[in-house]
Amino acid sequence: MSATGPTKKIFDQSDLASFRRSLAYTGLHQVLGKVIEKVRSQDVPSGYLDATLVTRDGVRAITRTKLEGPIKEDVVADSPVDSGRTPEDNHGPVFDGVIALFDKLQGLIDETPPLKGPRRFGNMACREWHEKVKANIGPWLQQVLNPADNQSELLLELKYYLENSFGSQVRLDYGTGHELSYLAFIGGLIDFKFLDYETLTGAQVLALFSKYYDLVRRLILDYNLEPAGSHGVWGLDDHFHLIYILGAAQFSTSNISPPVSQVLTGQMVNTYKSTNLYVNAIAFIFKIKLGPFNEHSPILYDIHTAVHLWSKVLQGLLKMYEVEVLGKFPVVQHFWFGEILYLWKDRQTGRELPVNPRSDDKEDSEEVGFINGTRGVNTTRSNISMTAAPWAMGRSQPKR
């Protein structure tokens, strides 16, 4: 037992079998299940999702005319730490604290503008942002959670998962592995009663995820984080997967959900992009990609032509998550395991699972690795995105 925080356990494809047997794996599924239960039939409360982040410049005017009821039109664009959020402001300090934390993290982006010049992907200013986060997040989290004296190890682990959920400082990329890390963080808050699961509302859960997704989208947009998913257009989304699960869960048991087949229309996107995470994610794709939707996002397109029930969509997305995220070595190799939250122990015997570190793999941060599949890596000089060799994924440079 050392207070070093989580450590890497998945070093190679063959470790995935151990991962599937681990308590951590079970734990992550439990958190996912809990979160899904909470958000069913719920809307993202107004004031949490920033519509401008998922709306193209130039069409903003149209989006503001939607039937939104009490949304405060102009607050959303700036840091909305104010009363405009929800009617019943009885959230508890940790919830409020985490929400406020995201406003601070957004503030750090404002303080760290992207570097100018002919660079395209992975703006180096993002590294500076990560540095600032590293310097601050410990004390901030301490303040928000106010843990007991004997919880320093727990705090360390929570901090690790939160920090790791903002993308890679080294590779300047973001993907579903980082998204998973945020789920792990939320799971930790719930399991150790920082957030009381009994009283936690679906709206609150959605708010916590909304603030997170908005932050990540600002990182992606402002710092031009790596675009290419491993399968190019042949993946669900360049960056996210969980967000679709949560959004589909929101719709899955609701009587007033829009028909699955109509969700890709401009009208539906505008109507639901501030209240449903699935539609919100679709809106973000419309914002950043040019071209016919069926070409740049064929899997999503097919979902909406072939599937009719939101419950089926949810089920399919979960199956896909199992295979394409939790089952993919390039993604989960970056998920580390600690002593408290997510244990590298056999869920049946409780014994430590085997660890097979590779000698040349000590320094995870040196990797030319991949999240969500193929993030390219950056050239030393011009920072241009490029393809890496799959056999080099997750390895430091090959020995020659």
Binding site: R56, G58, V59, P118, R120, F121, P227, A228, S230, H231, G232, V233, W234, L264, T265, G266, F286, I288, K289, L290, G291, P292, F293, E295, H296, P298, I299, D302, I303, H304, A306, V307, V313, Q315, G316, L317, K319, M320, V323, V368, G373, T374, V377, N378, T379, T380, R381, I384, S385, M386, T387, A388, A389, P390, W391, A392, M393, Q397, P398, R400
Partner: protein, 375 residues
């Protein structure tokens, strides 16, 4: 000796028609692809690892399944057989139309064998296409069958590794290798295999130039090397070359010139992955008479070039007789979400079941397969 049988020109023209005259393009039936691949393989067997090509010729970089942008290239640069083309590889992966792109290129190569030349990129490989999209695309477009993928990736093994143009310019997909000082070393490779993880063949398709180093350095890609000025100078000197032309790296402006034109990158996939916003280019090489006029290689070259095409200041950093023809994403790619034309991806011409020869295949073709998670 393998006796190569040929496909009648009329059949090739019919394939071209399927691909070119429909929007979206019609994919070719599996049996057709199989036959095209087989025929091209037998022809490529006799092609050396490094082809000897002559100017004038237009050099095209990465396309990555951006079919409409390939058609755009033929629009702006002239179409075969009136223009000669050398493609530098990376035809597939990432984009939506890898199948159509490679089918068109194979057909064009068979139809105009002396006008169209294809070399191998790092994506022309089984491992890479499994990881970066082409494999998934084939499963989706060919009813869950990977047959077409295996025929096409088998064909990839036969593609040559590079070309020389007028004996003075060396073209390959990636770059140079520390294991290779002489072009003859490349000529001696047994290339008819999957691209290995290392060695000359791997480095040719994986390496990148780097202006900050002089020698070789391991590439952050995990395959190939970064190579510097000394490396390229020595290689050019030892092989009587003046320049290397390669692709392999996204360039915002569509091209990059290193070391005053000693090395050029040509990138031909505009708005890469539908969102990078980059330009693309093809490199038009009109001639390679560098000594005839005023000597200096990179100086004024407007004298014997078409008026207006090359400016004397040489802002592109190219050699005389060369010109980067820059273009942006084709209008098809801009049928965009704002105009609402394809917001739902609804293409009115999706009806494959025509009365034509291939119609019966597509009539039977079920829906795409990648939604299996949802059924």
């Amino acid at each position: 000796m393998t006796v190569s049988f040929s496909i009648p020109t009329s059949d090739l023209d019919y394939c071209l028609e399927q691909l070119l005259d429909h929007k979206p393009p019609k994919i070719l039936p599996p049996e057709t692809v199989q036959q095209l691949c087989h025929t091209l393989k037998t022809q490529l067997l006799g092609v050396p690892n490094i082809m000897h090509l002559q100017s004038p010729i237009s050099v095209v970089g990465d396309i990555h399944g951006q079919y409409h942008d390939l058609l755009e290239i033929f629009q702006i640069g002239g179409s075969p057989p009136t223009t000669n083309y050398l493609f530098l590889g990376d035809y597939v992966d990432r984009g939506y139309y890898s199948v159509e792109t490679i089918s068109l290129l194979i057909t064009l190569k068979l139809r105009y064998p002396d006008r169209v030349f294809l070399i191998r990129g790092n994506h022309e490989s089984r491992t890479i296409t499994t990881n970066y999209g082409f494999y998934s695309e084939i499963l989706n477009k060919y009813n869950g069958s990977a047959d077409v993928w295996s025929w096409i990736t088998d064909l990839f093994d036969y593609l040559p590794l590079g070309a020389t143009i007028d004996g003075k310019i060396f073209a390959a997909h990636g770059g140079l290798s520390p294991s290779c000082q002489q072009l003859d070393q490349i000529r001696a490779i047994d290339r008819f295999k999957e691209i290995p993880h290392d060695g000359i063949m791997a480095d040719l398709v994986w390496s990148d130039p780097d202006t900050e180093i002089m020698d070789f350095k391991l590439s952050p890609r995990g395959a190939g090397y970064l190579f510097g000025l000394d490396v390229i100078n020595k290689f050019c000197h030892d092989n009587d070359l003046v320049q290397m032309i390669r692709a392999h790296q996204l360039c915002n402006e569509g091209f990059t010139s290193y070391w005053n034109g000693k090395c050029l990158t040509v990138w031909s996939a505009p708005n890469y992955c539908y969102r990078c916003g980059n330009k693309a280019s093809i490199l038009e090489i009109l001639h390679s008479n560098y000594d005839s006029k005023n000597g200096s290689k990179t100086s004024d070259n407007s004298f014997d070039d078409p008026p207006g095409k090359l400016r004397s200041s040489n802002p592109q950093g190219v050699l005389p007789g060369q010109y980067f023809n820059i273009f942006e994403a084709s209008p098809e790619n801009d049928e965009d979400t704002i105009s609402g034309k394809s917001v739902n991806g609804i293409n009115t011409d999706i009806n494959y079941a025509g009365s034509d020869f291939f119609g019966s295949y597509f009539q039977e073709r079920p829906k795409r397969q990648h939604i299996e998670y949802f059924l």
